[in-house]
Amino acid sequence: MTALPTKKLEAWRYTDLRALERLSFGEVPAAAVPDLPAFAGPRVVFANGRMSQALSARLDHAQDFAPVQEHGPQSLAHINAEQAQDGLTLSVPAGVDAGALLMVSYNAGEMPFAAHLRHRITLGANARLMLIELVKGDGVYWHNPVTDISLHDGAVLTHIRLQQESAEAFNTTLIRANIAAGAGYEHFTATIGAKLSRTELHVSLLGEQARTDLNAAQLLRGEQHGDFTAVVRHAAPNCASRQTVKSVLADEAHGVFQGRVEVAKGAQKTDGYQMSRALLLSDHATMDIKPELEIFADDVKCSHGATIGALDAEQLFYLRSRGIDEPEARAMLIHAFLEEAFAPVTDEAAHGLLIEAIGKWWTTP
């Protein structure tokens, strides 16, 4: 197996996979049956690394899984390619609005095991899809999915992820997207589960007027480690990218945000924006932020911002002076803090799922 990346690599300076390396993985156990949320539309369900035909329903535009050729630089993608035996291969024809699709990845077993899924999603010109991805499980496992996305001219993919892995799980997610002219990739990840997780996105804006929104909320507690890493490459002129990442860290949680906006030579009129805010709720929570700009064109508008701080004492007192209990006042402020990252998730079903998950986060101890 290809070796895991180490902290010596600049891209991995804040996330340490040694705990993962120490695990020894056994056979993938028989698939367990997850609870599925009420969802009216089509769905595809993966259990322990395999698609469950029984649980999946009304899946259009899907194709059979084909073996993976991997040429990318990420070693996790090579490990995935060596192991992956299944995944969603979806190709929405040009001009088709495929509506919303629910994808559930569930892993559960008594002994540690690894699940490597390889998803490939292609949208033809002007096609549309909303992919709602639920990631969850029970027990100790390593979930290492790779999703390759290709959007042709004018296509729009809305991708909403809710990561609620088991408390002992490792999640390393790699998403790579190539966006053609006039196409848009709208991404939102809520990171709530896993002992250690890393969501790594590489989005290339390859044609004029391509755009991407990469938003995330990380809610971490206990000794959780959550890493959101996003690289946006502006390879064509007149493209736009927007990133807003909010992290809320309690107990001894460790949050990481690494973002890089690359503007290639000739990618004039690029509009790039990146904002990372972290809220620390405990003395022992830590946050590392590395927002990079790498710019090789002069007529661009790029900015980034980062803040790290605690809840504002003034605001807390103001709420309490109006009769609101401290826990509720804190919840209100945390919710308000997350609001900006959530705002782009306009779909009611997806929004509902997120609100429910986040509501649970601070009401359950």
Binding site: D283, I289, E292, S303, G305, I308, A310
Partner: protein, 480 residues
Amino acid sequence: MSDTQLTPEELAGQKYKYGFTTDIAMEEFPKGMSEEIVRLISAKKQEPEWLLEWRLKAYRLWCESVEPAWAHIHHPPIDYQDYYYYAAPAKAAPKSLDEVDPELLKTYEKLGIPLNERAALAGVAVDAVFDSVSVATTFRETLAKAGVIFCPISEAVREYPELVKKYLGSVVPQGDNYFAALNSAVFSDGSFVYIPKGVRCPMELSTYFRINARNTGQFERTLIIADEGAYVSYLEGCTAPQRDENQLHAAVVELVAMNDATIKYSTVQNWYPGDADGRGGIYNFVTKRGACRGRNSKISWTQVETGSAITWKYPSCILQGENSVGEFYSVAVTNHHQQADTGTKMIHIGKNTRSTIISKGISAGKSNNTYRGLVRILPAASGARNFTQCDSLLIGEECGAHTVPYIENRNLSAKVEHEATTSKIAEDQLFYCRSRGLSQEDAVGLIVNGFCKDVLKELPMEFAVEAQKLLSVSLEGSVG
């Protein structure tokens, strides 16, 4: 000055005294680094045993380390064995201004450098080119009255060995990084400043005035200590491009501020940047660091970096004392094929420590300009504050501007804010200026100076005026 410029004859004369068995001294000076060279340098400077050991430790650490590769700079591999580390034989200096590159002279004229100083800057071999002797004398008397020590570091090793021994390497240890190790092994000379308790240094200290510090060579070492309640403002460099035969520079600057002390360190770096096609130019690898050891201490770095083919430099503050303050104000301009990778580190250790970072990068031509910074808040730094603002301005479509900040927070009550923007000079700004009668280049100069205002205002007045001119000169030919 002459310490590092010994003749072969002088060298030979000292050979016996220190029992060296080498006979290279009779010949040309050897190129390259070796333990022998380190011993030779120490011996020539009649250094005490501890300092020789200190240098040798640095040399061993240097041998064990590798040149860092993380910076956003590219250059052919440096062959460290192809340099002179000790009293490099001087190339024939120009005999008069007629032999000096006319481009250099034109620049002096534009910067308004007085005629009699131009020769000195250009390295013309003439004695007492300007009335420095009397300046230096009054200067020394005033400082002595205040109890301020300001001398070459080699002199300080002899005259104030306890102070040097106590503080040398206490901020930048020998093994800190590859270039610091190199400097520690072979440093030639540099400045030593000690401001006693409660003393406000009566004047701005500057290497420019300290004539015997000129030609301190490629491995300069500076150590400044401000004792309790002391204040000093130190100016480094010169606004005019200096003629320099050394391609590789690796300086180290260490600052120590005790309780209630303030050190303000201003630099204008304008070494030779190479020609318009990227040939030649200085490689400038500098380690600058200040320790705010005492409560309420303050270290403020201001730099205007316009020169060198490569700049690798991160003036930093270690904020140990409660309520201590670190500041970094930087303008870095790159044109043609220049590469700058510069920024700062603010390490918050003590309670209620505060830091401010204002960085303005301007890239033109085919240059690359990177801001690289670290803000680290350690668990004990309750109430720490950092504010960072990094702005990049791009002129032309073949240059690069990069921002690489690292923000690491380990404390709940700390507050860190970081903002960065990238923009170009707007056509309408240029047009507006030109419609009011400014030339294209004057308009660029005006706009760039406006962009840098927050940093330039931190410079001492006379320095700021020259720095402004320098910005315009550096960007000549970059627009239109």
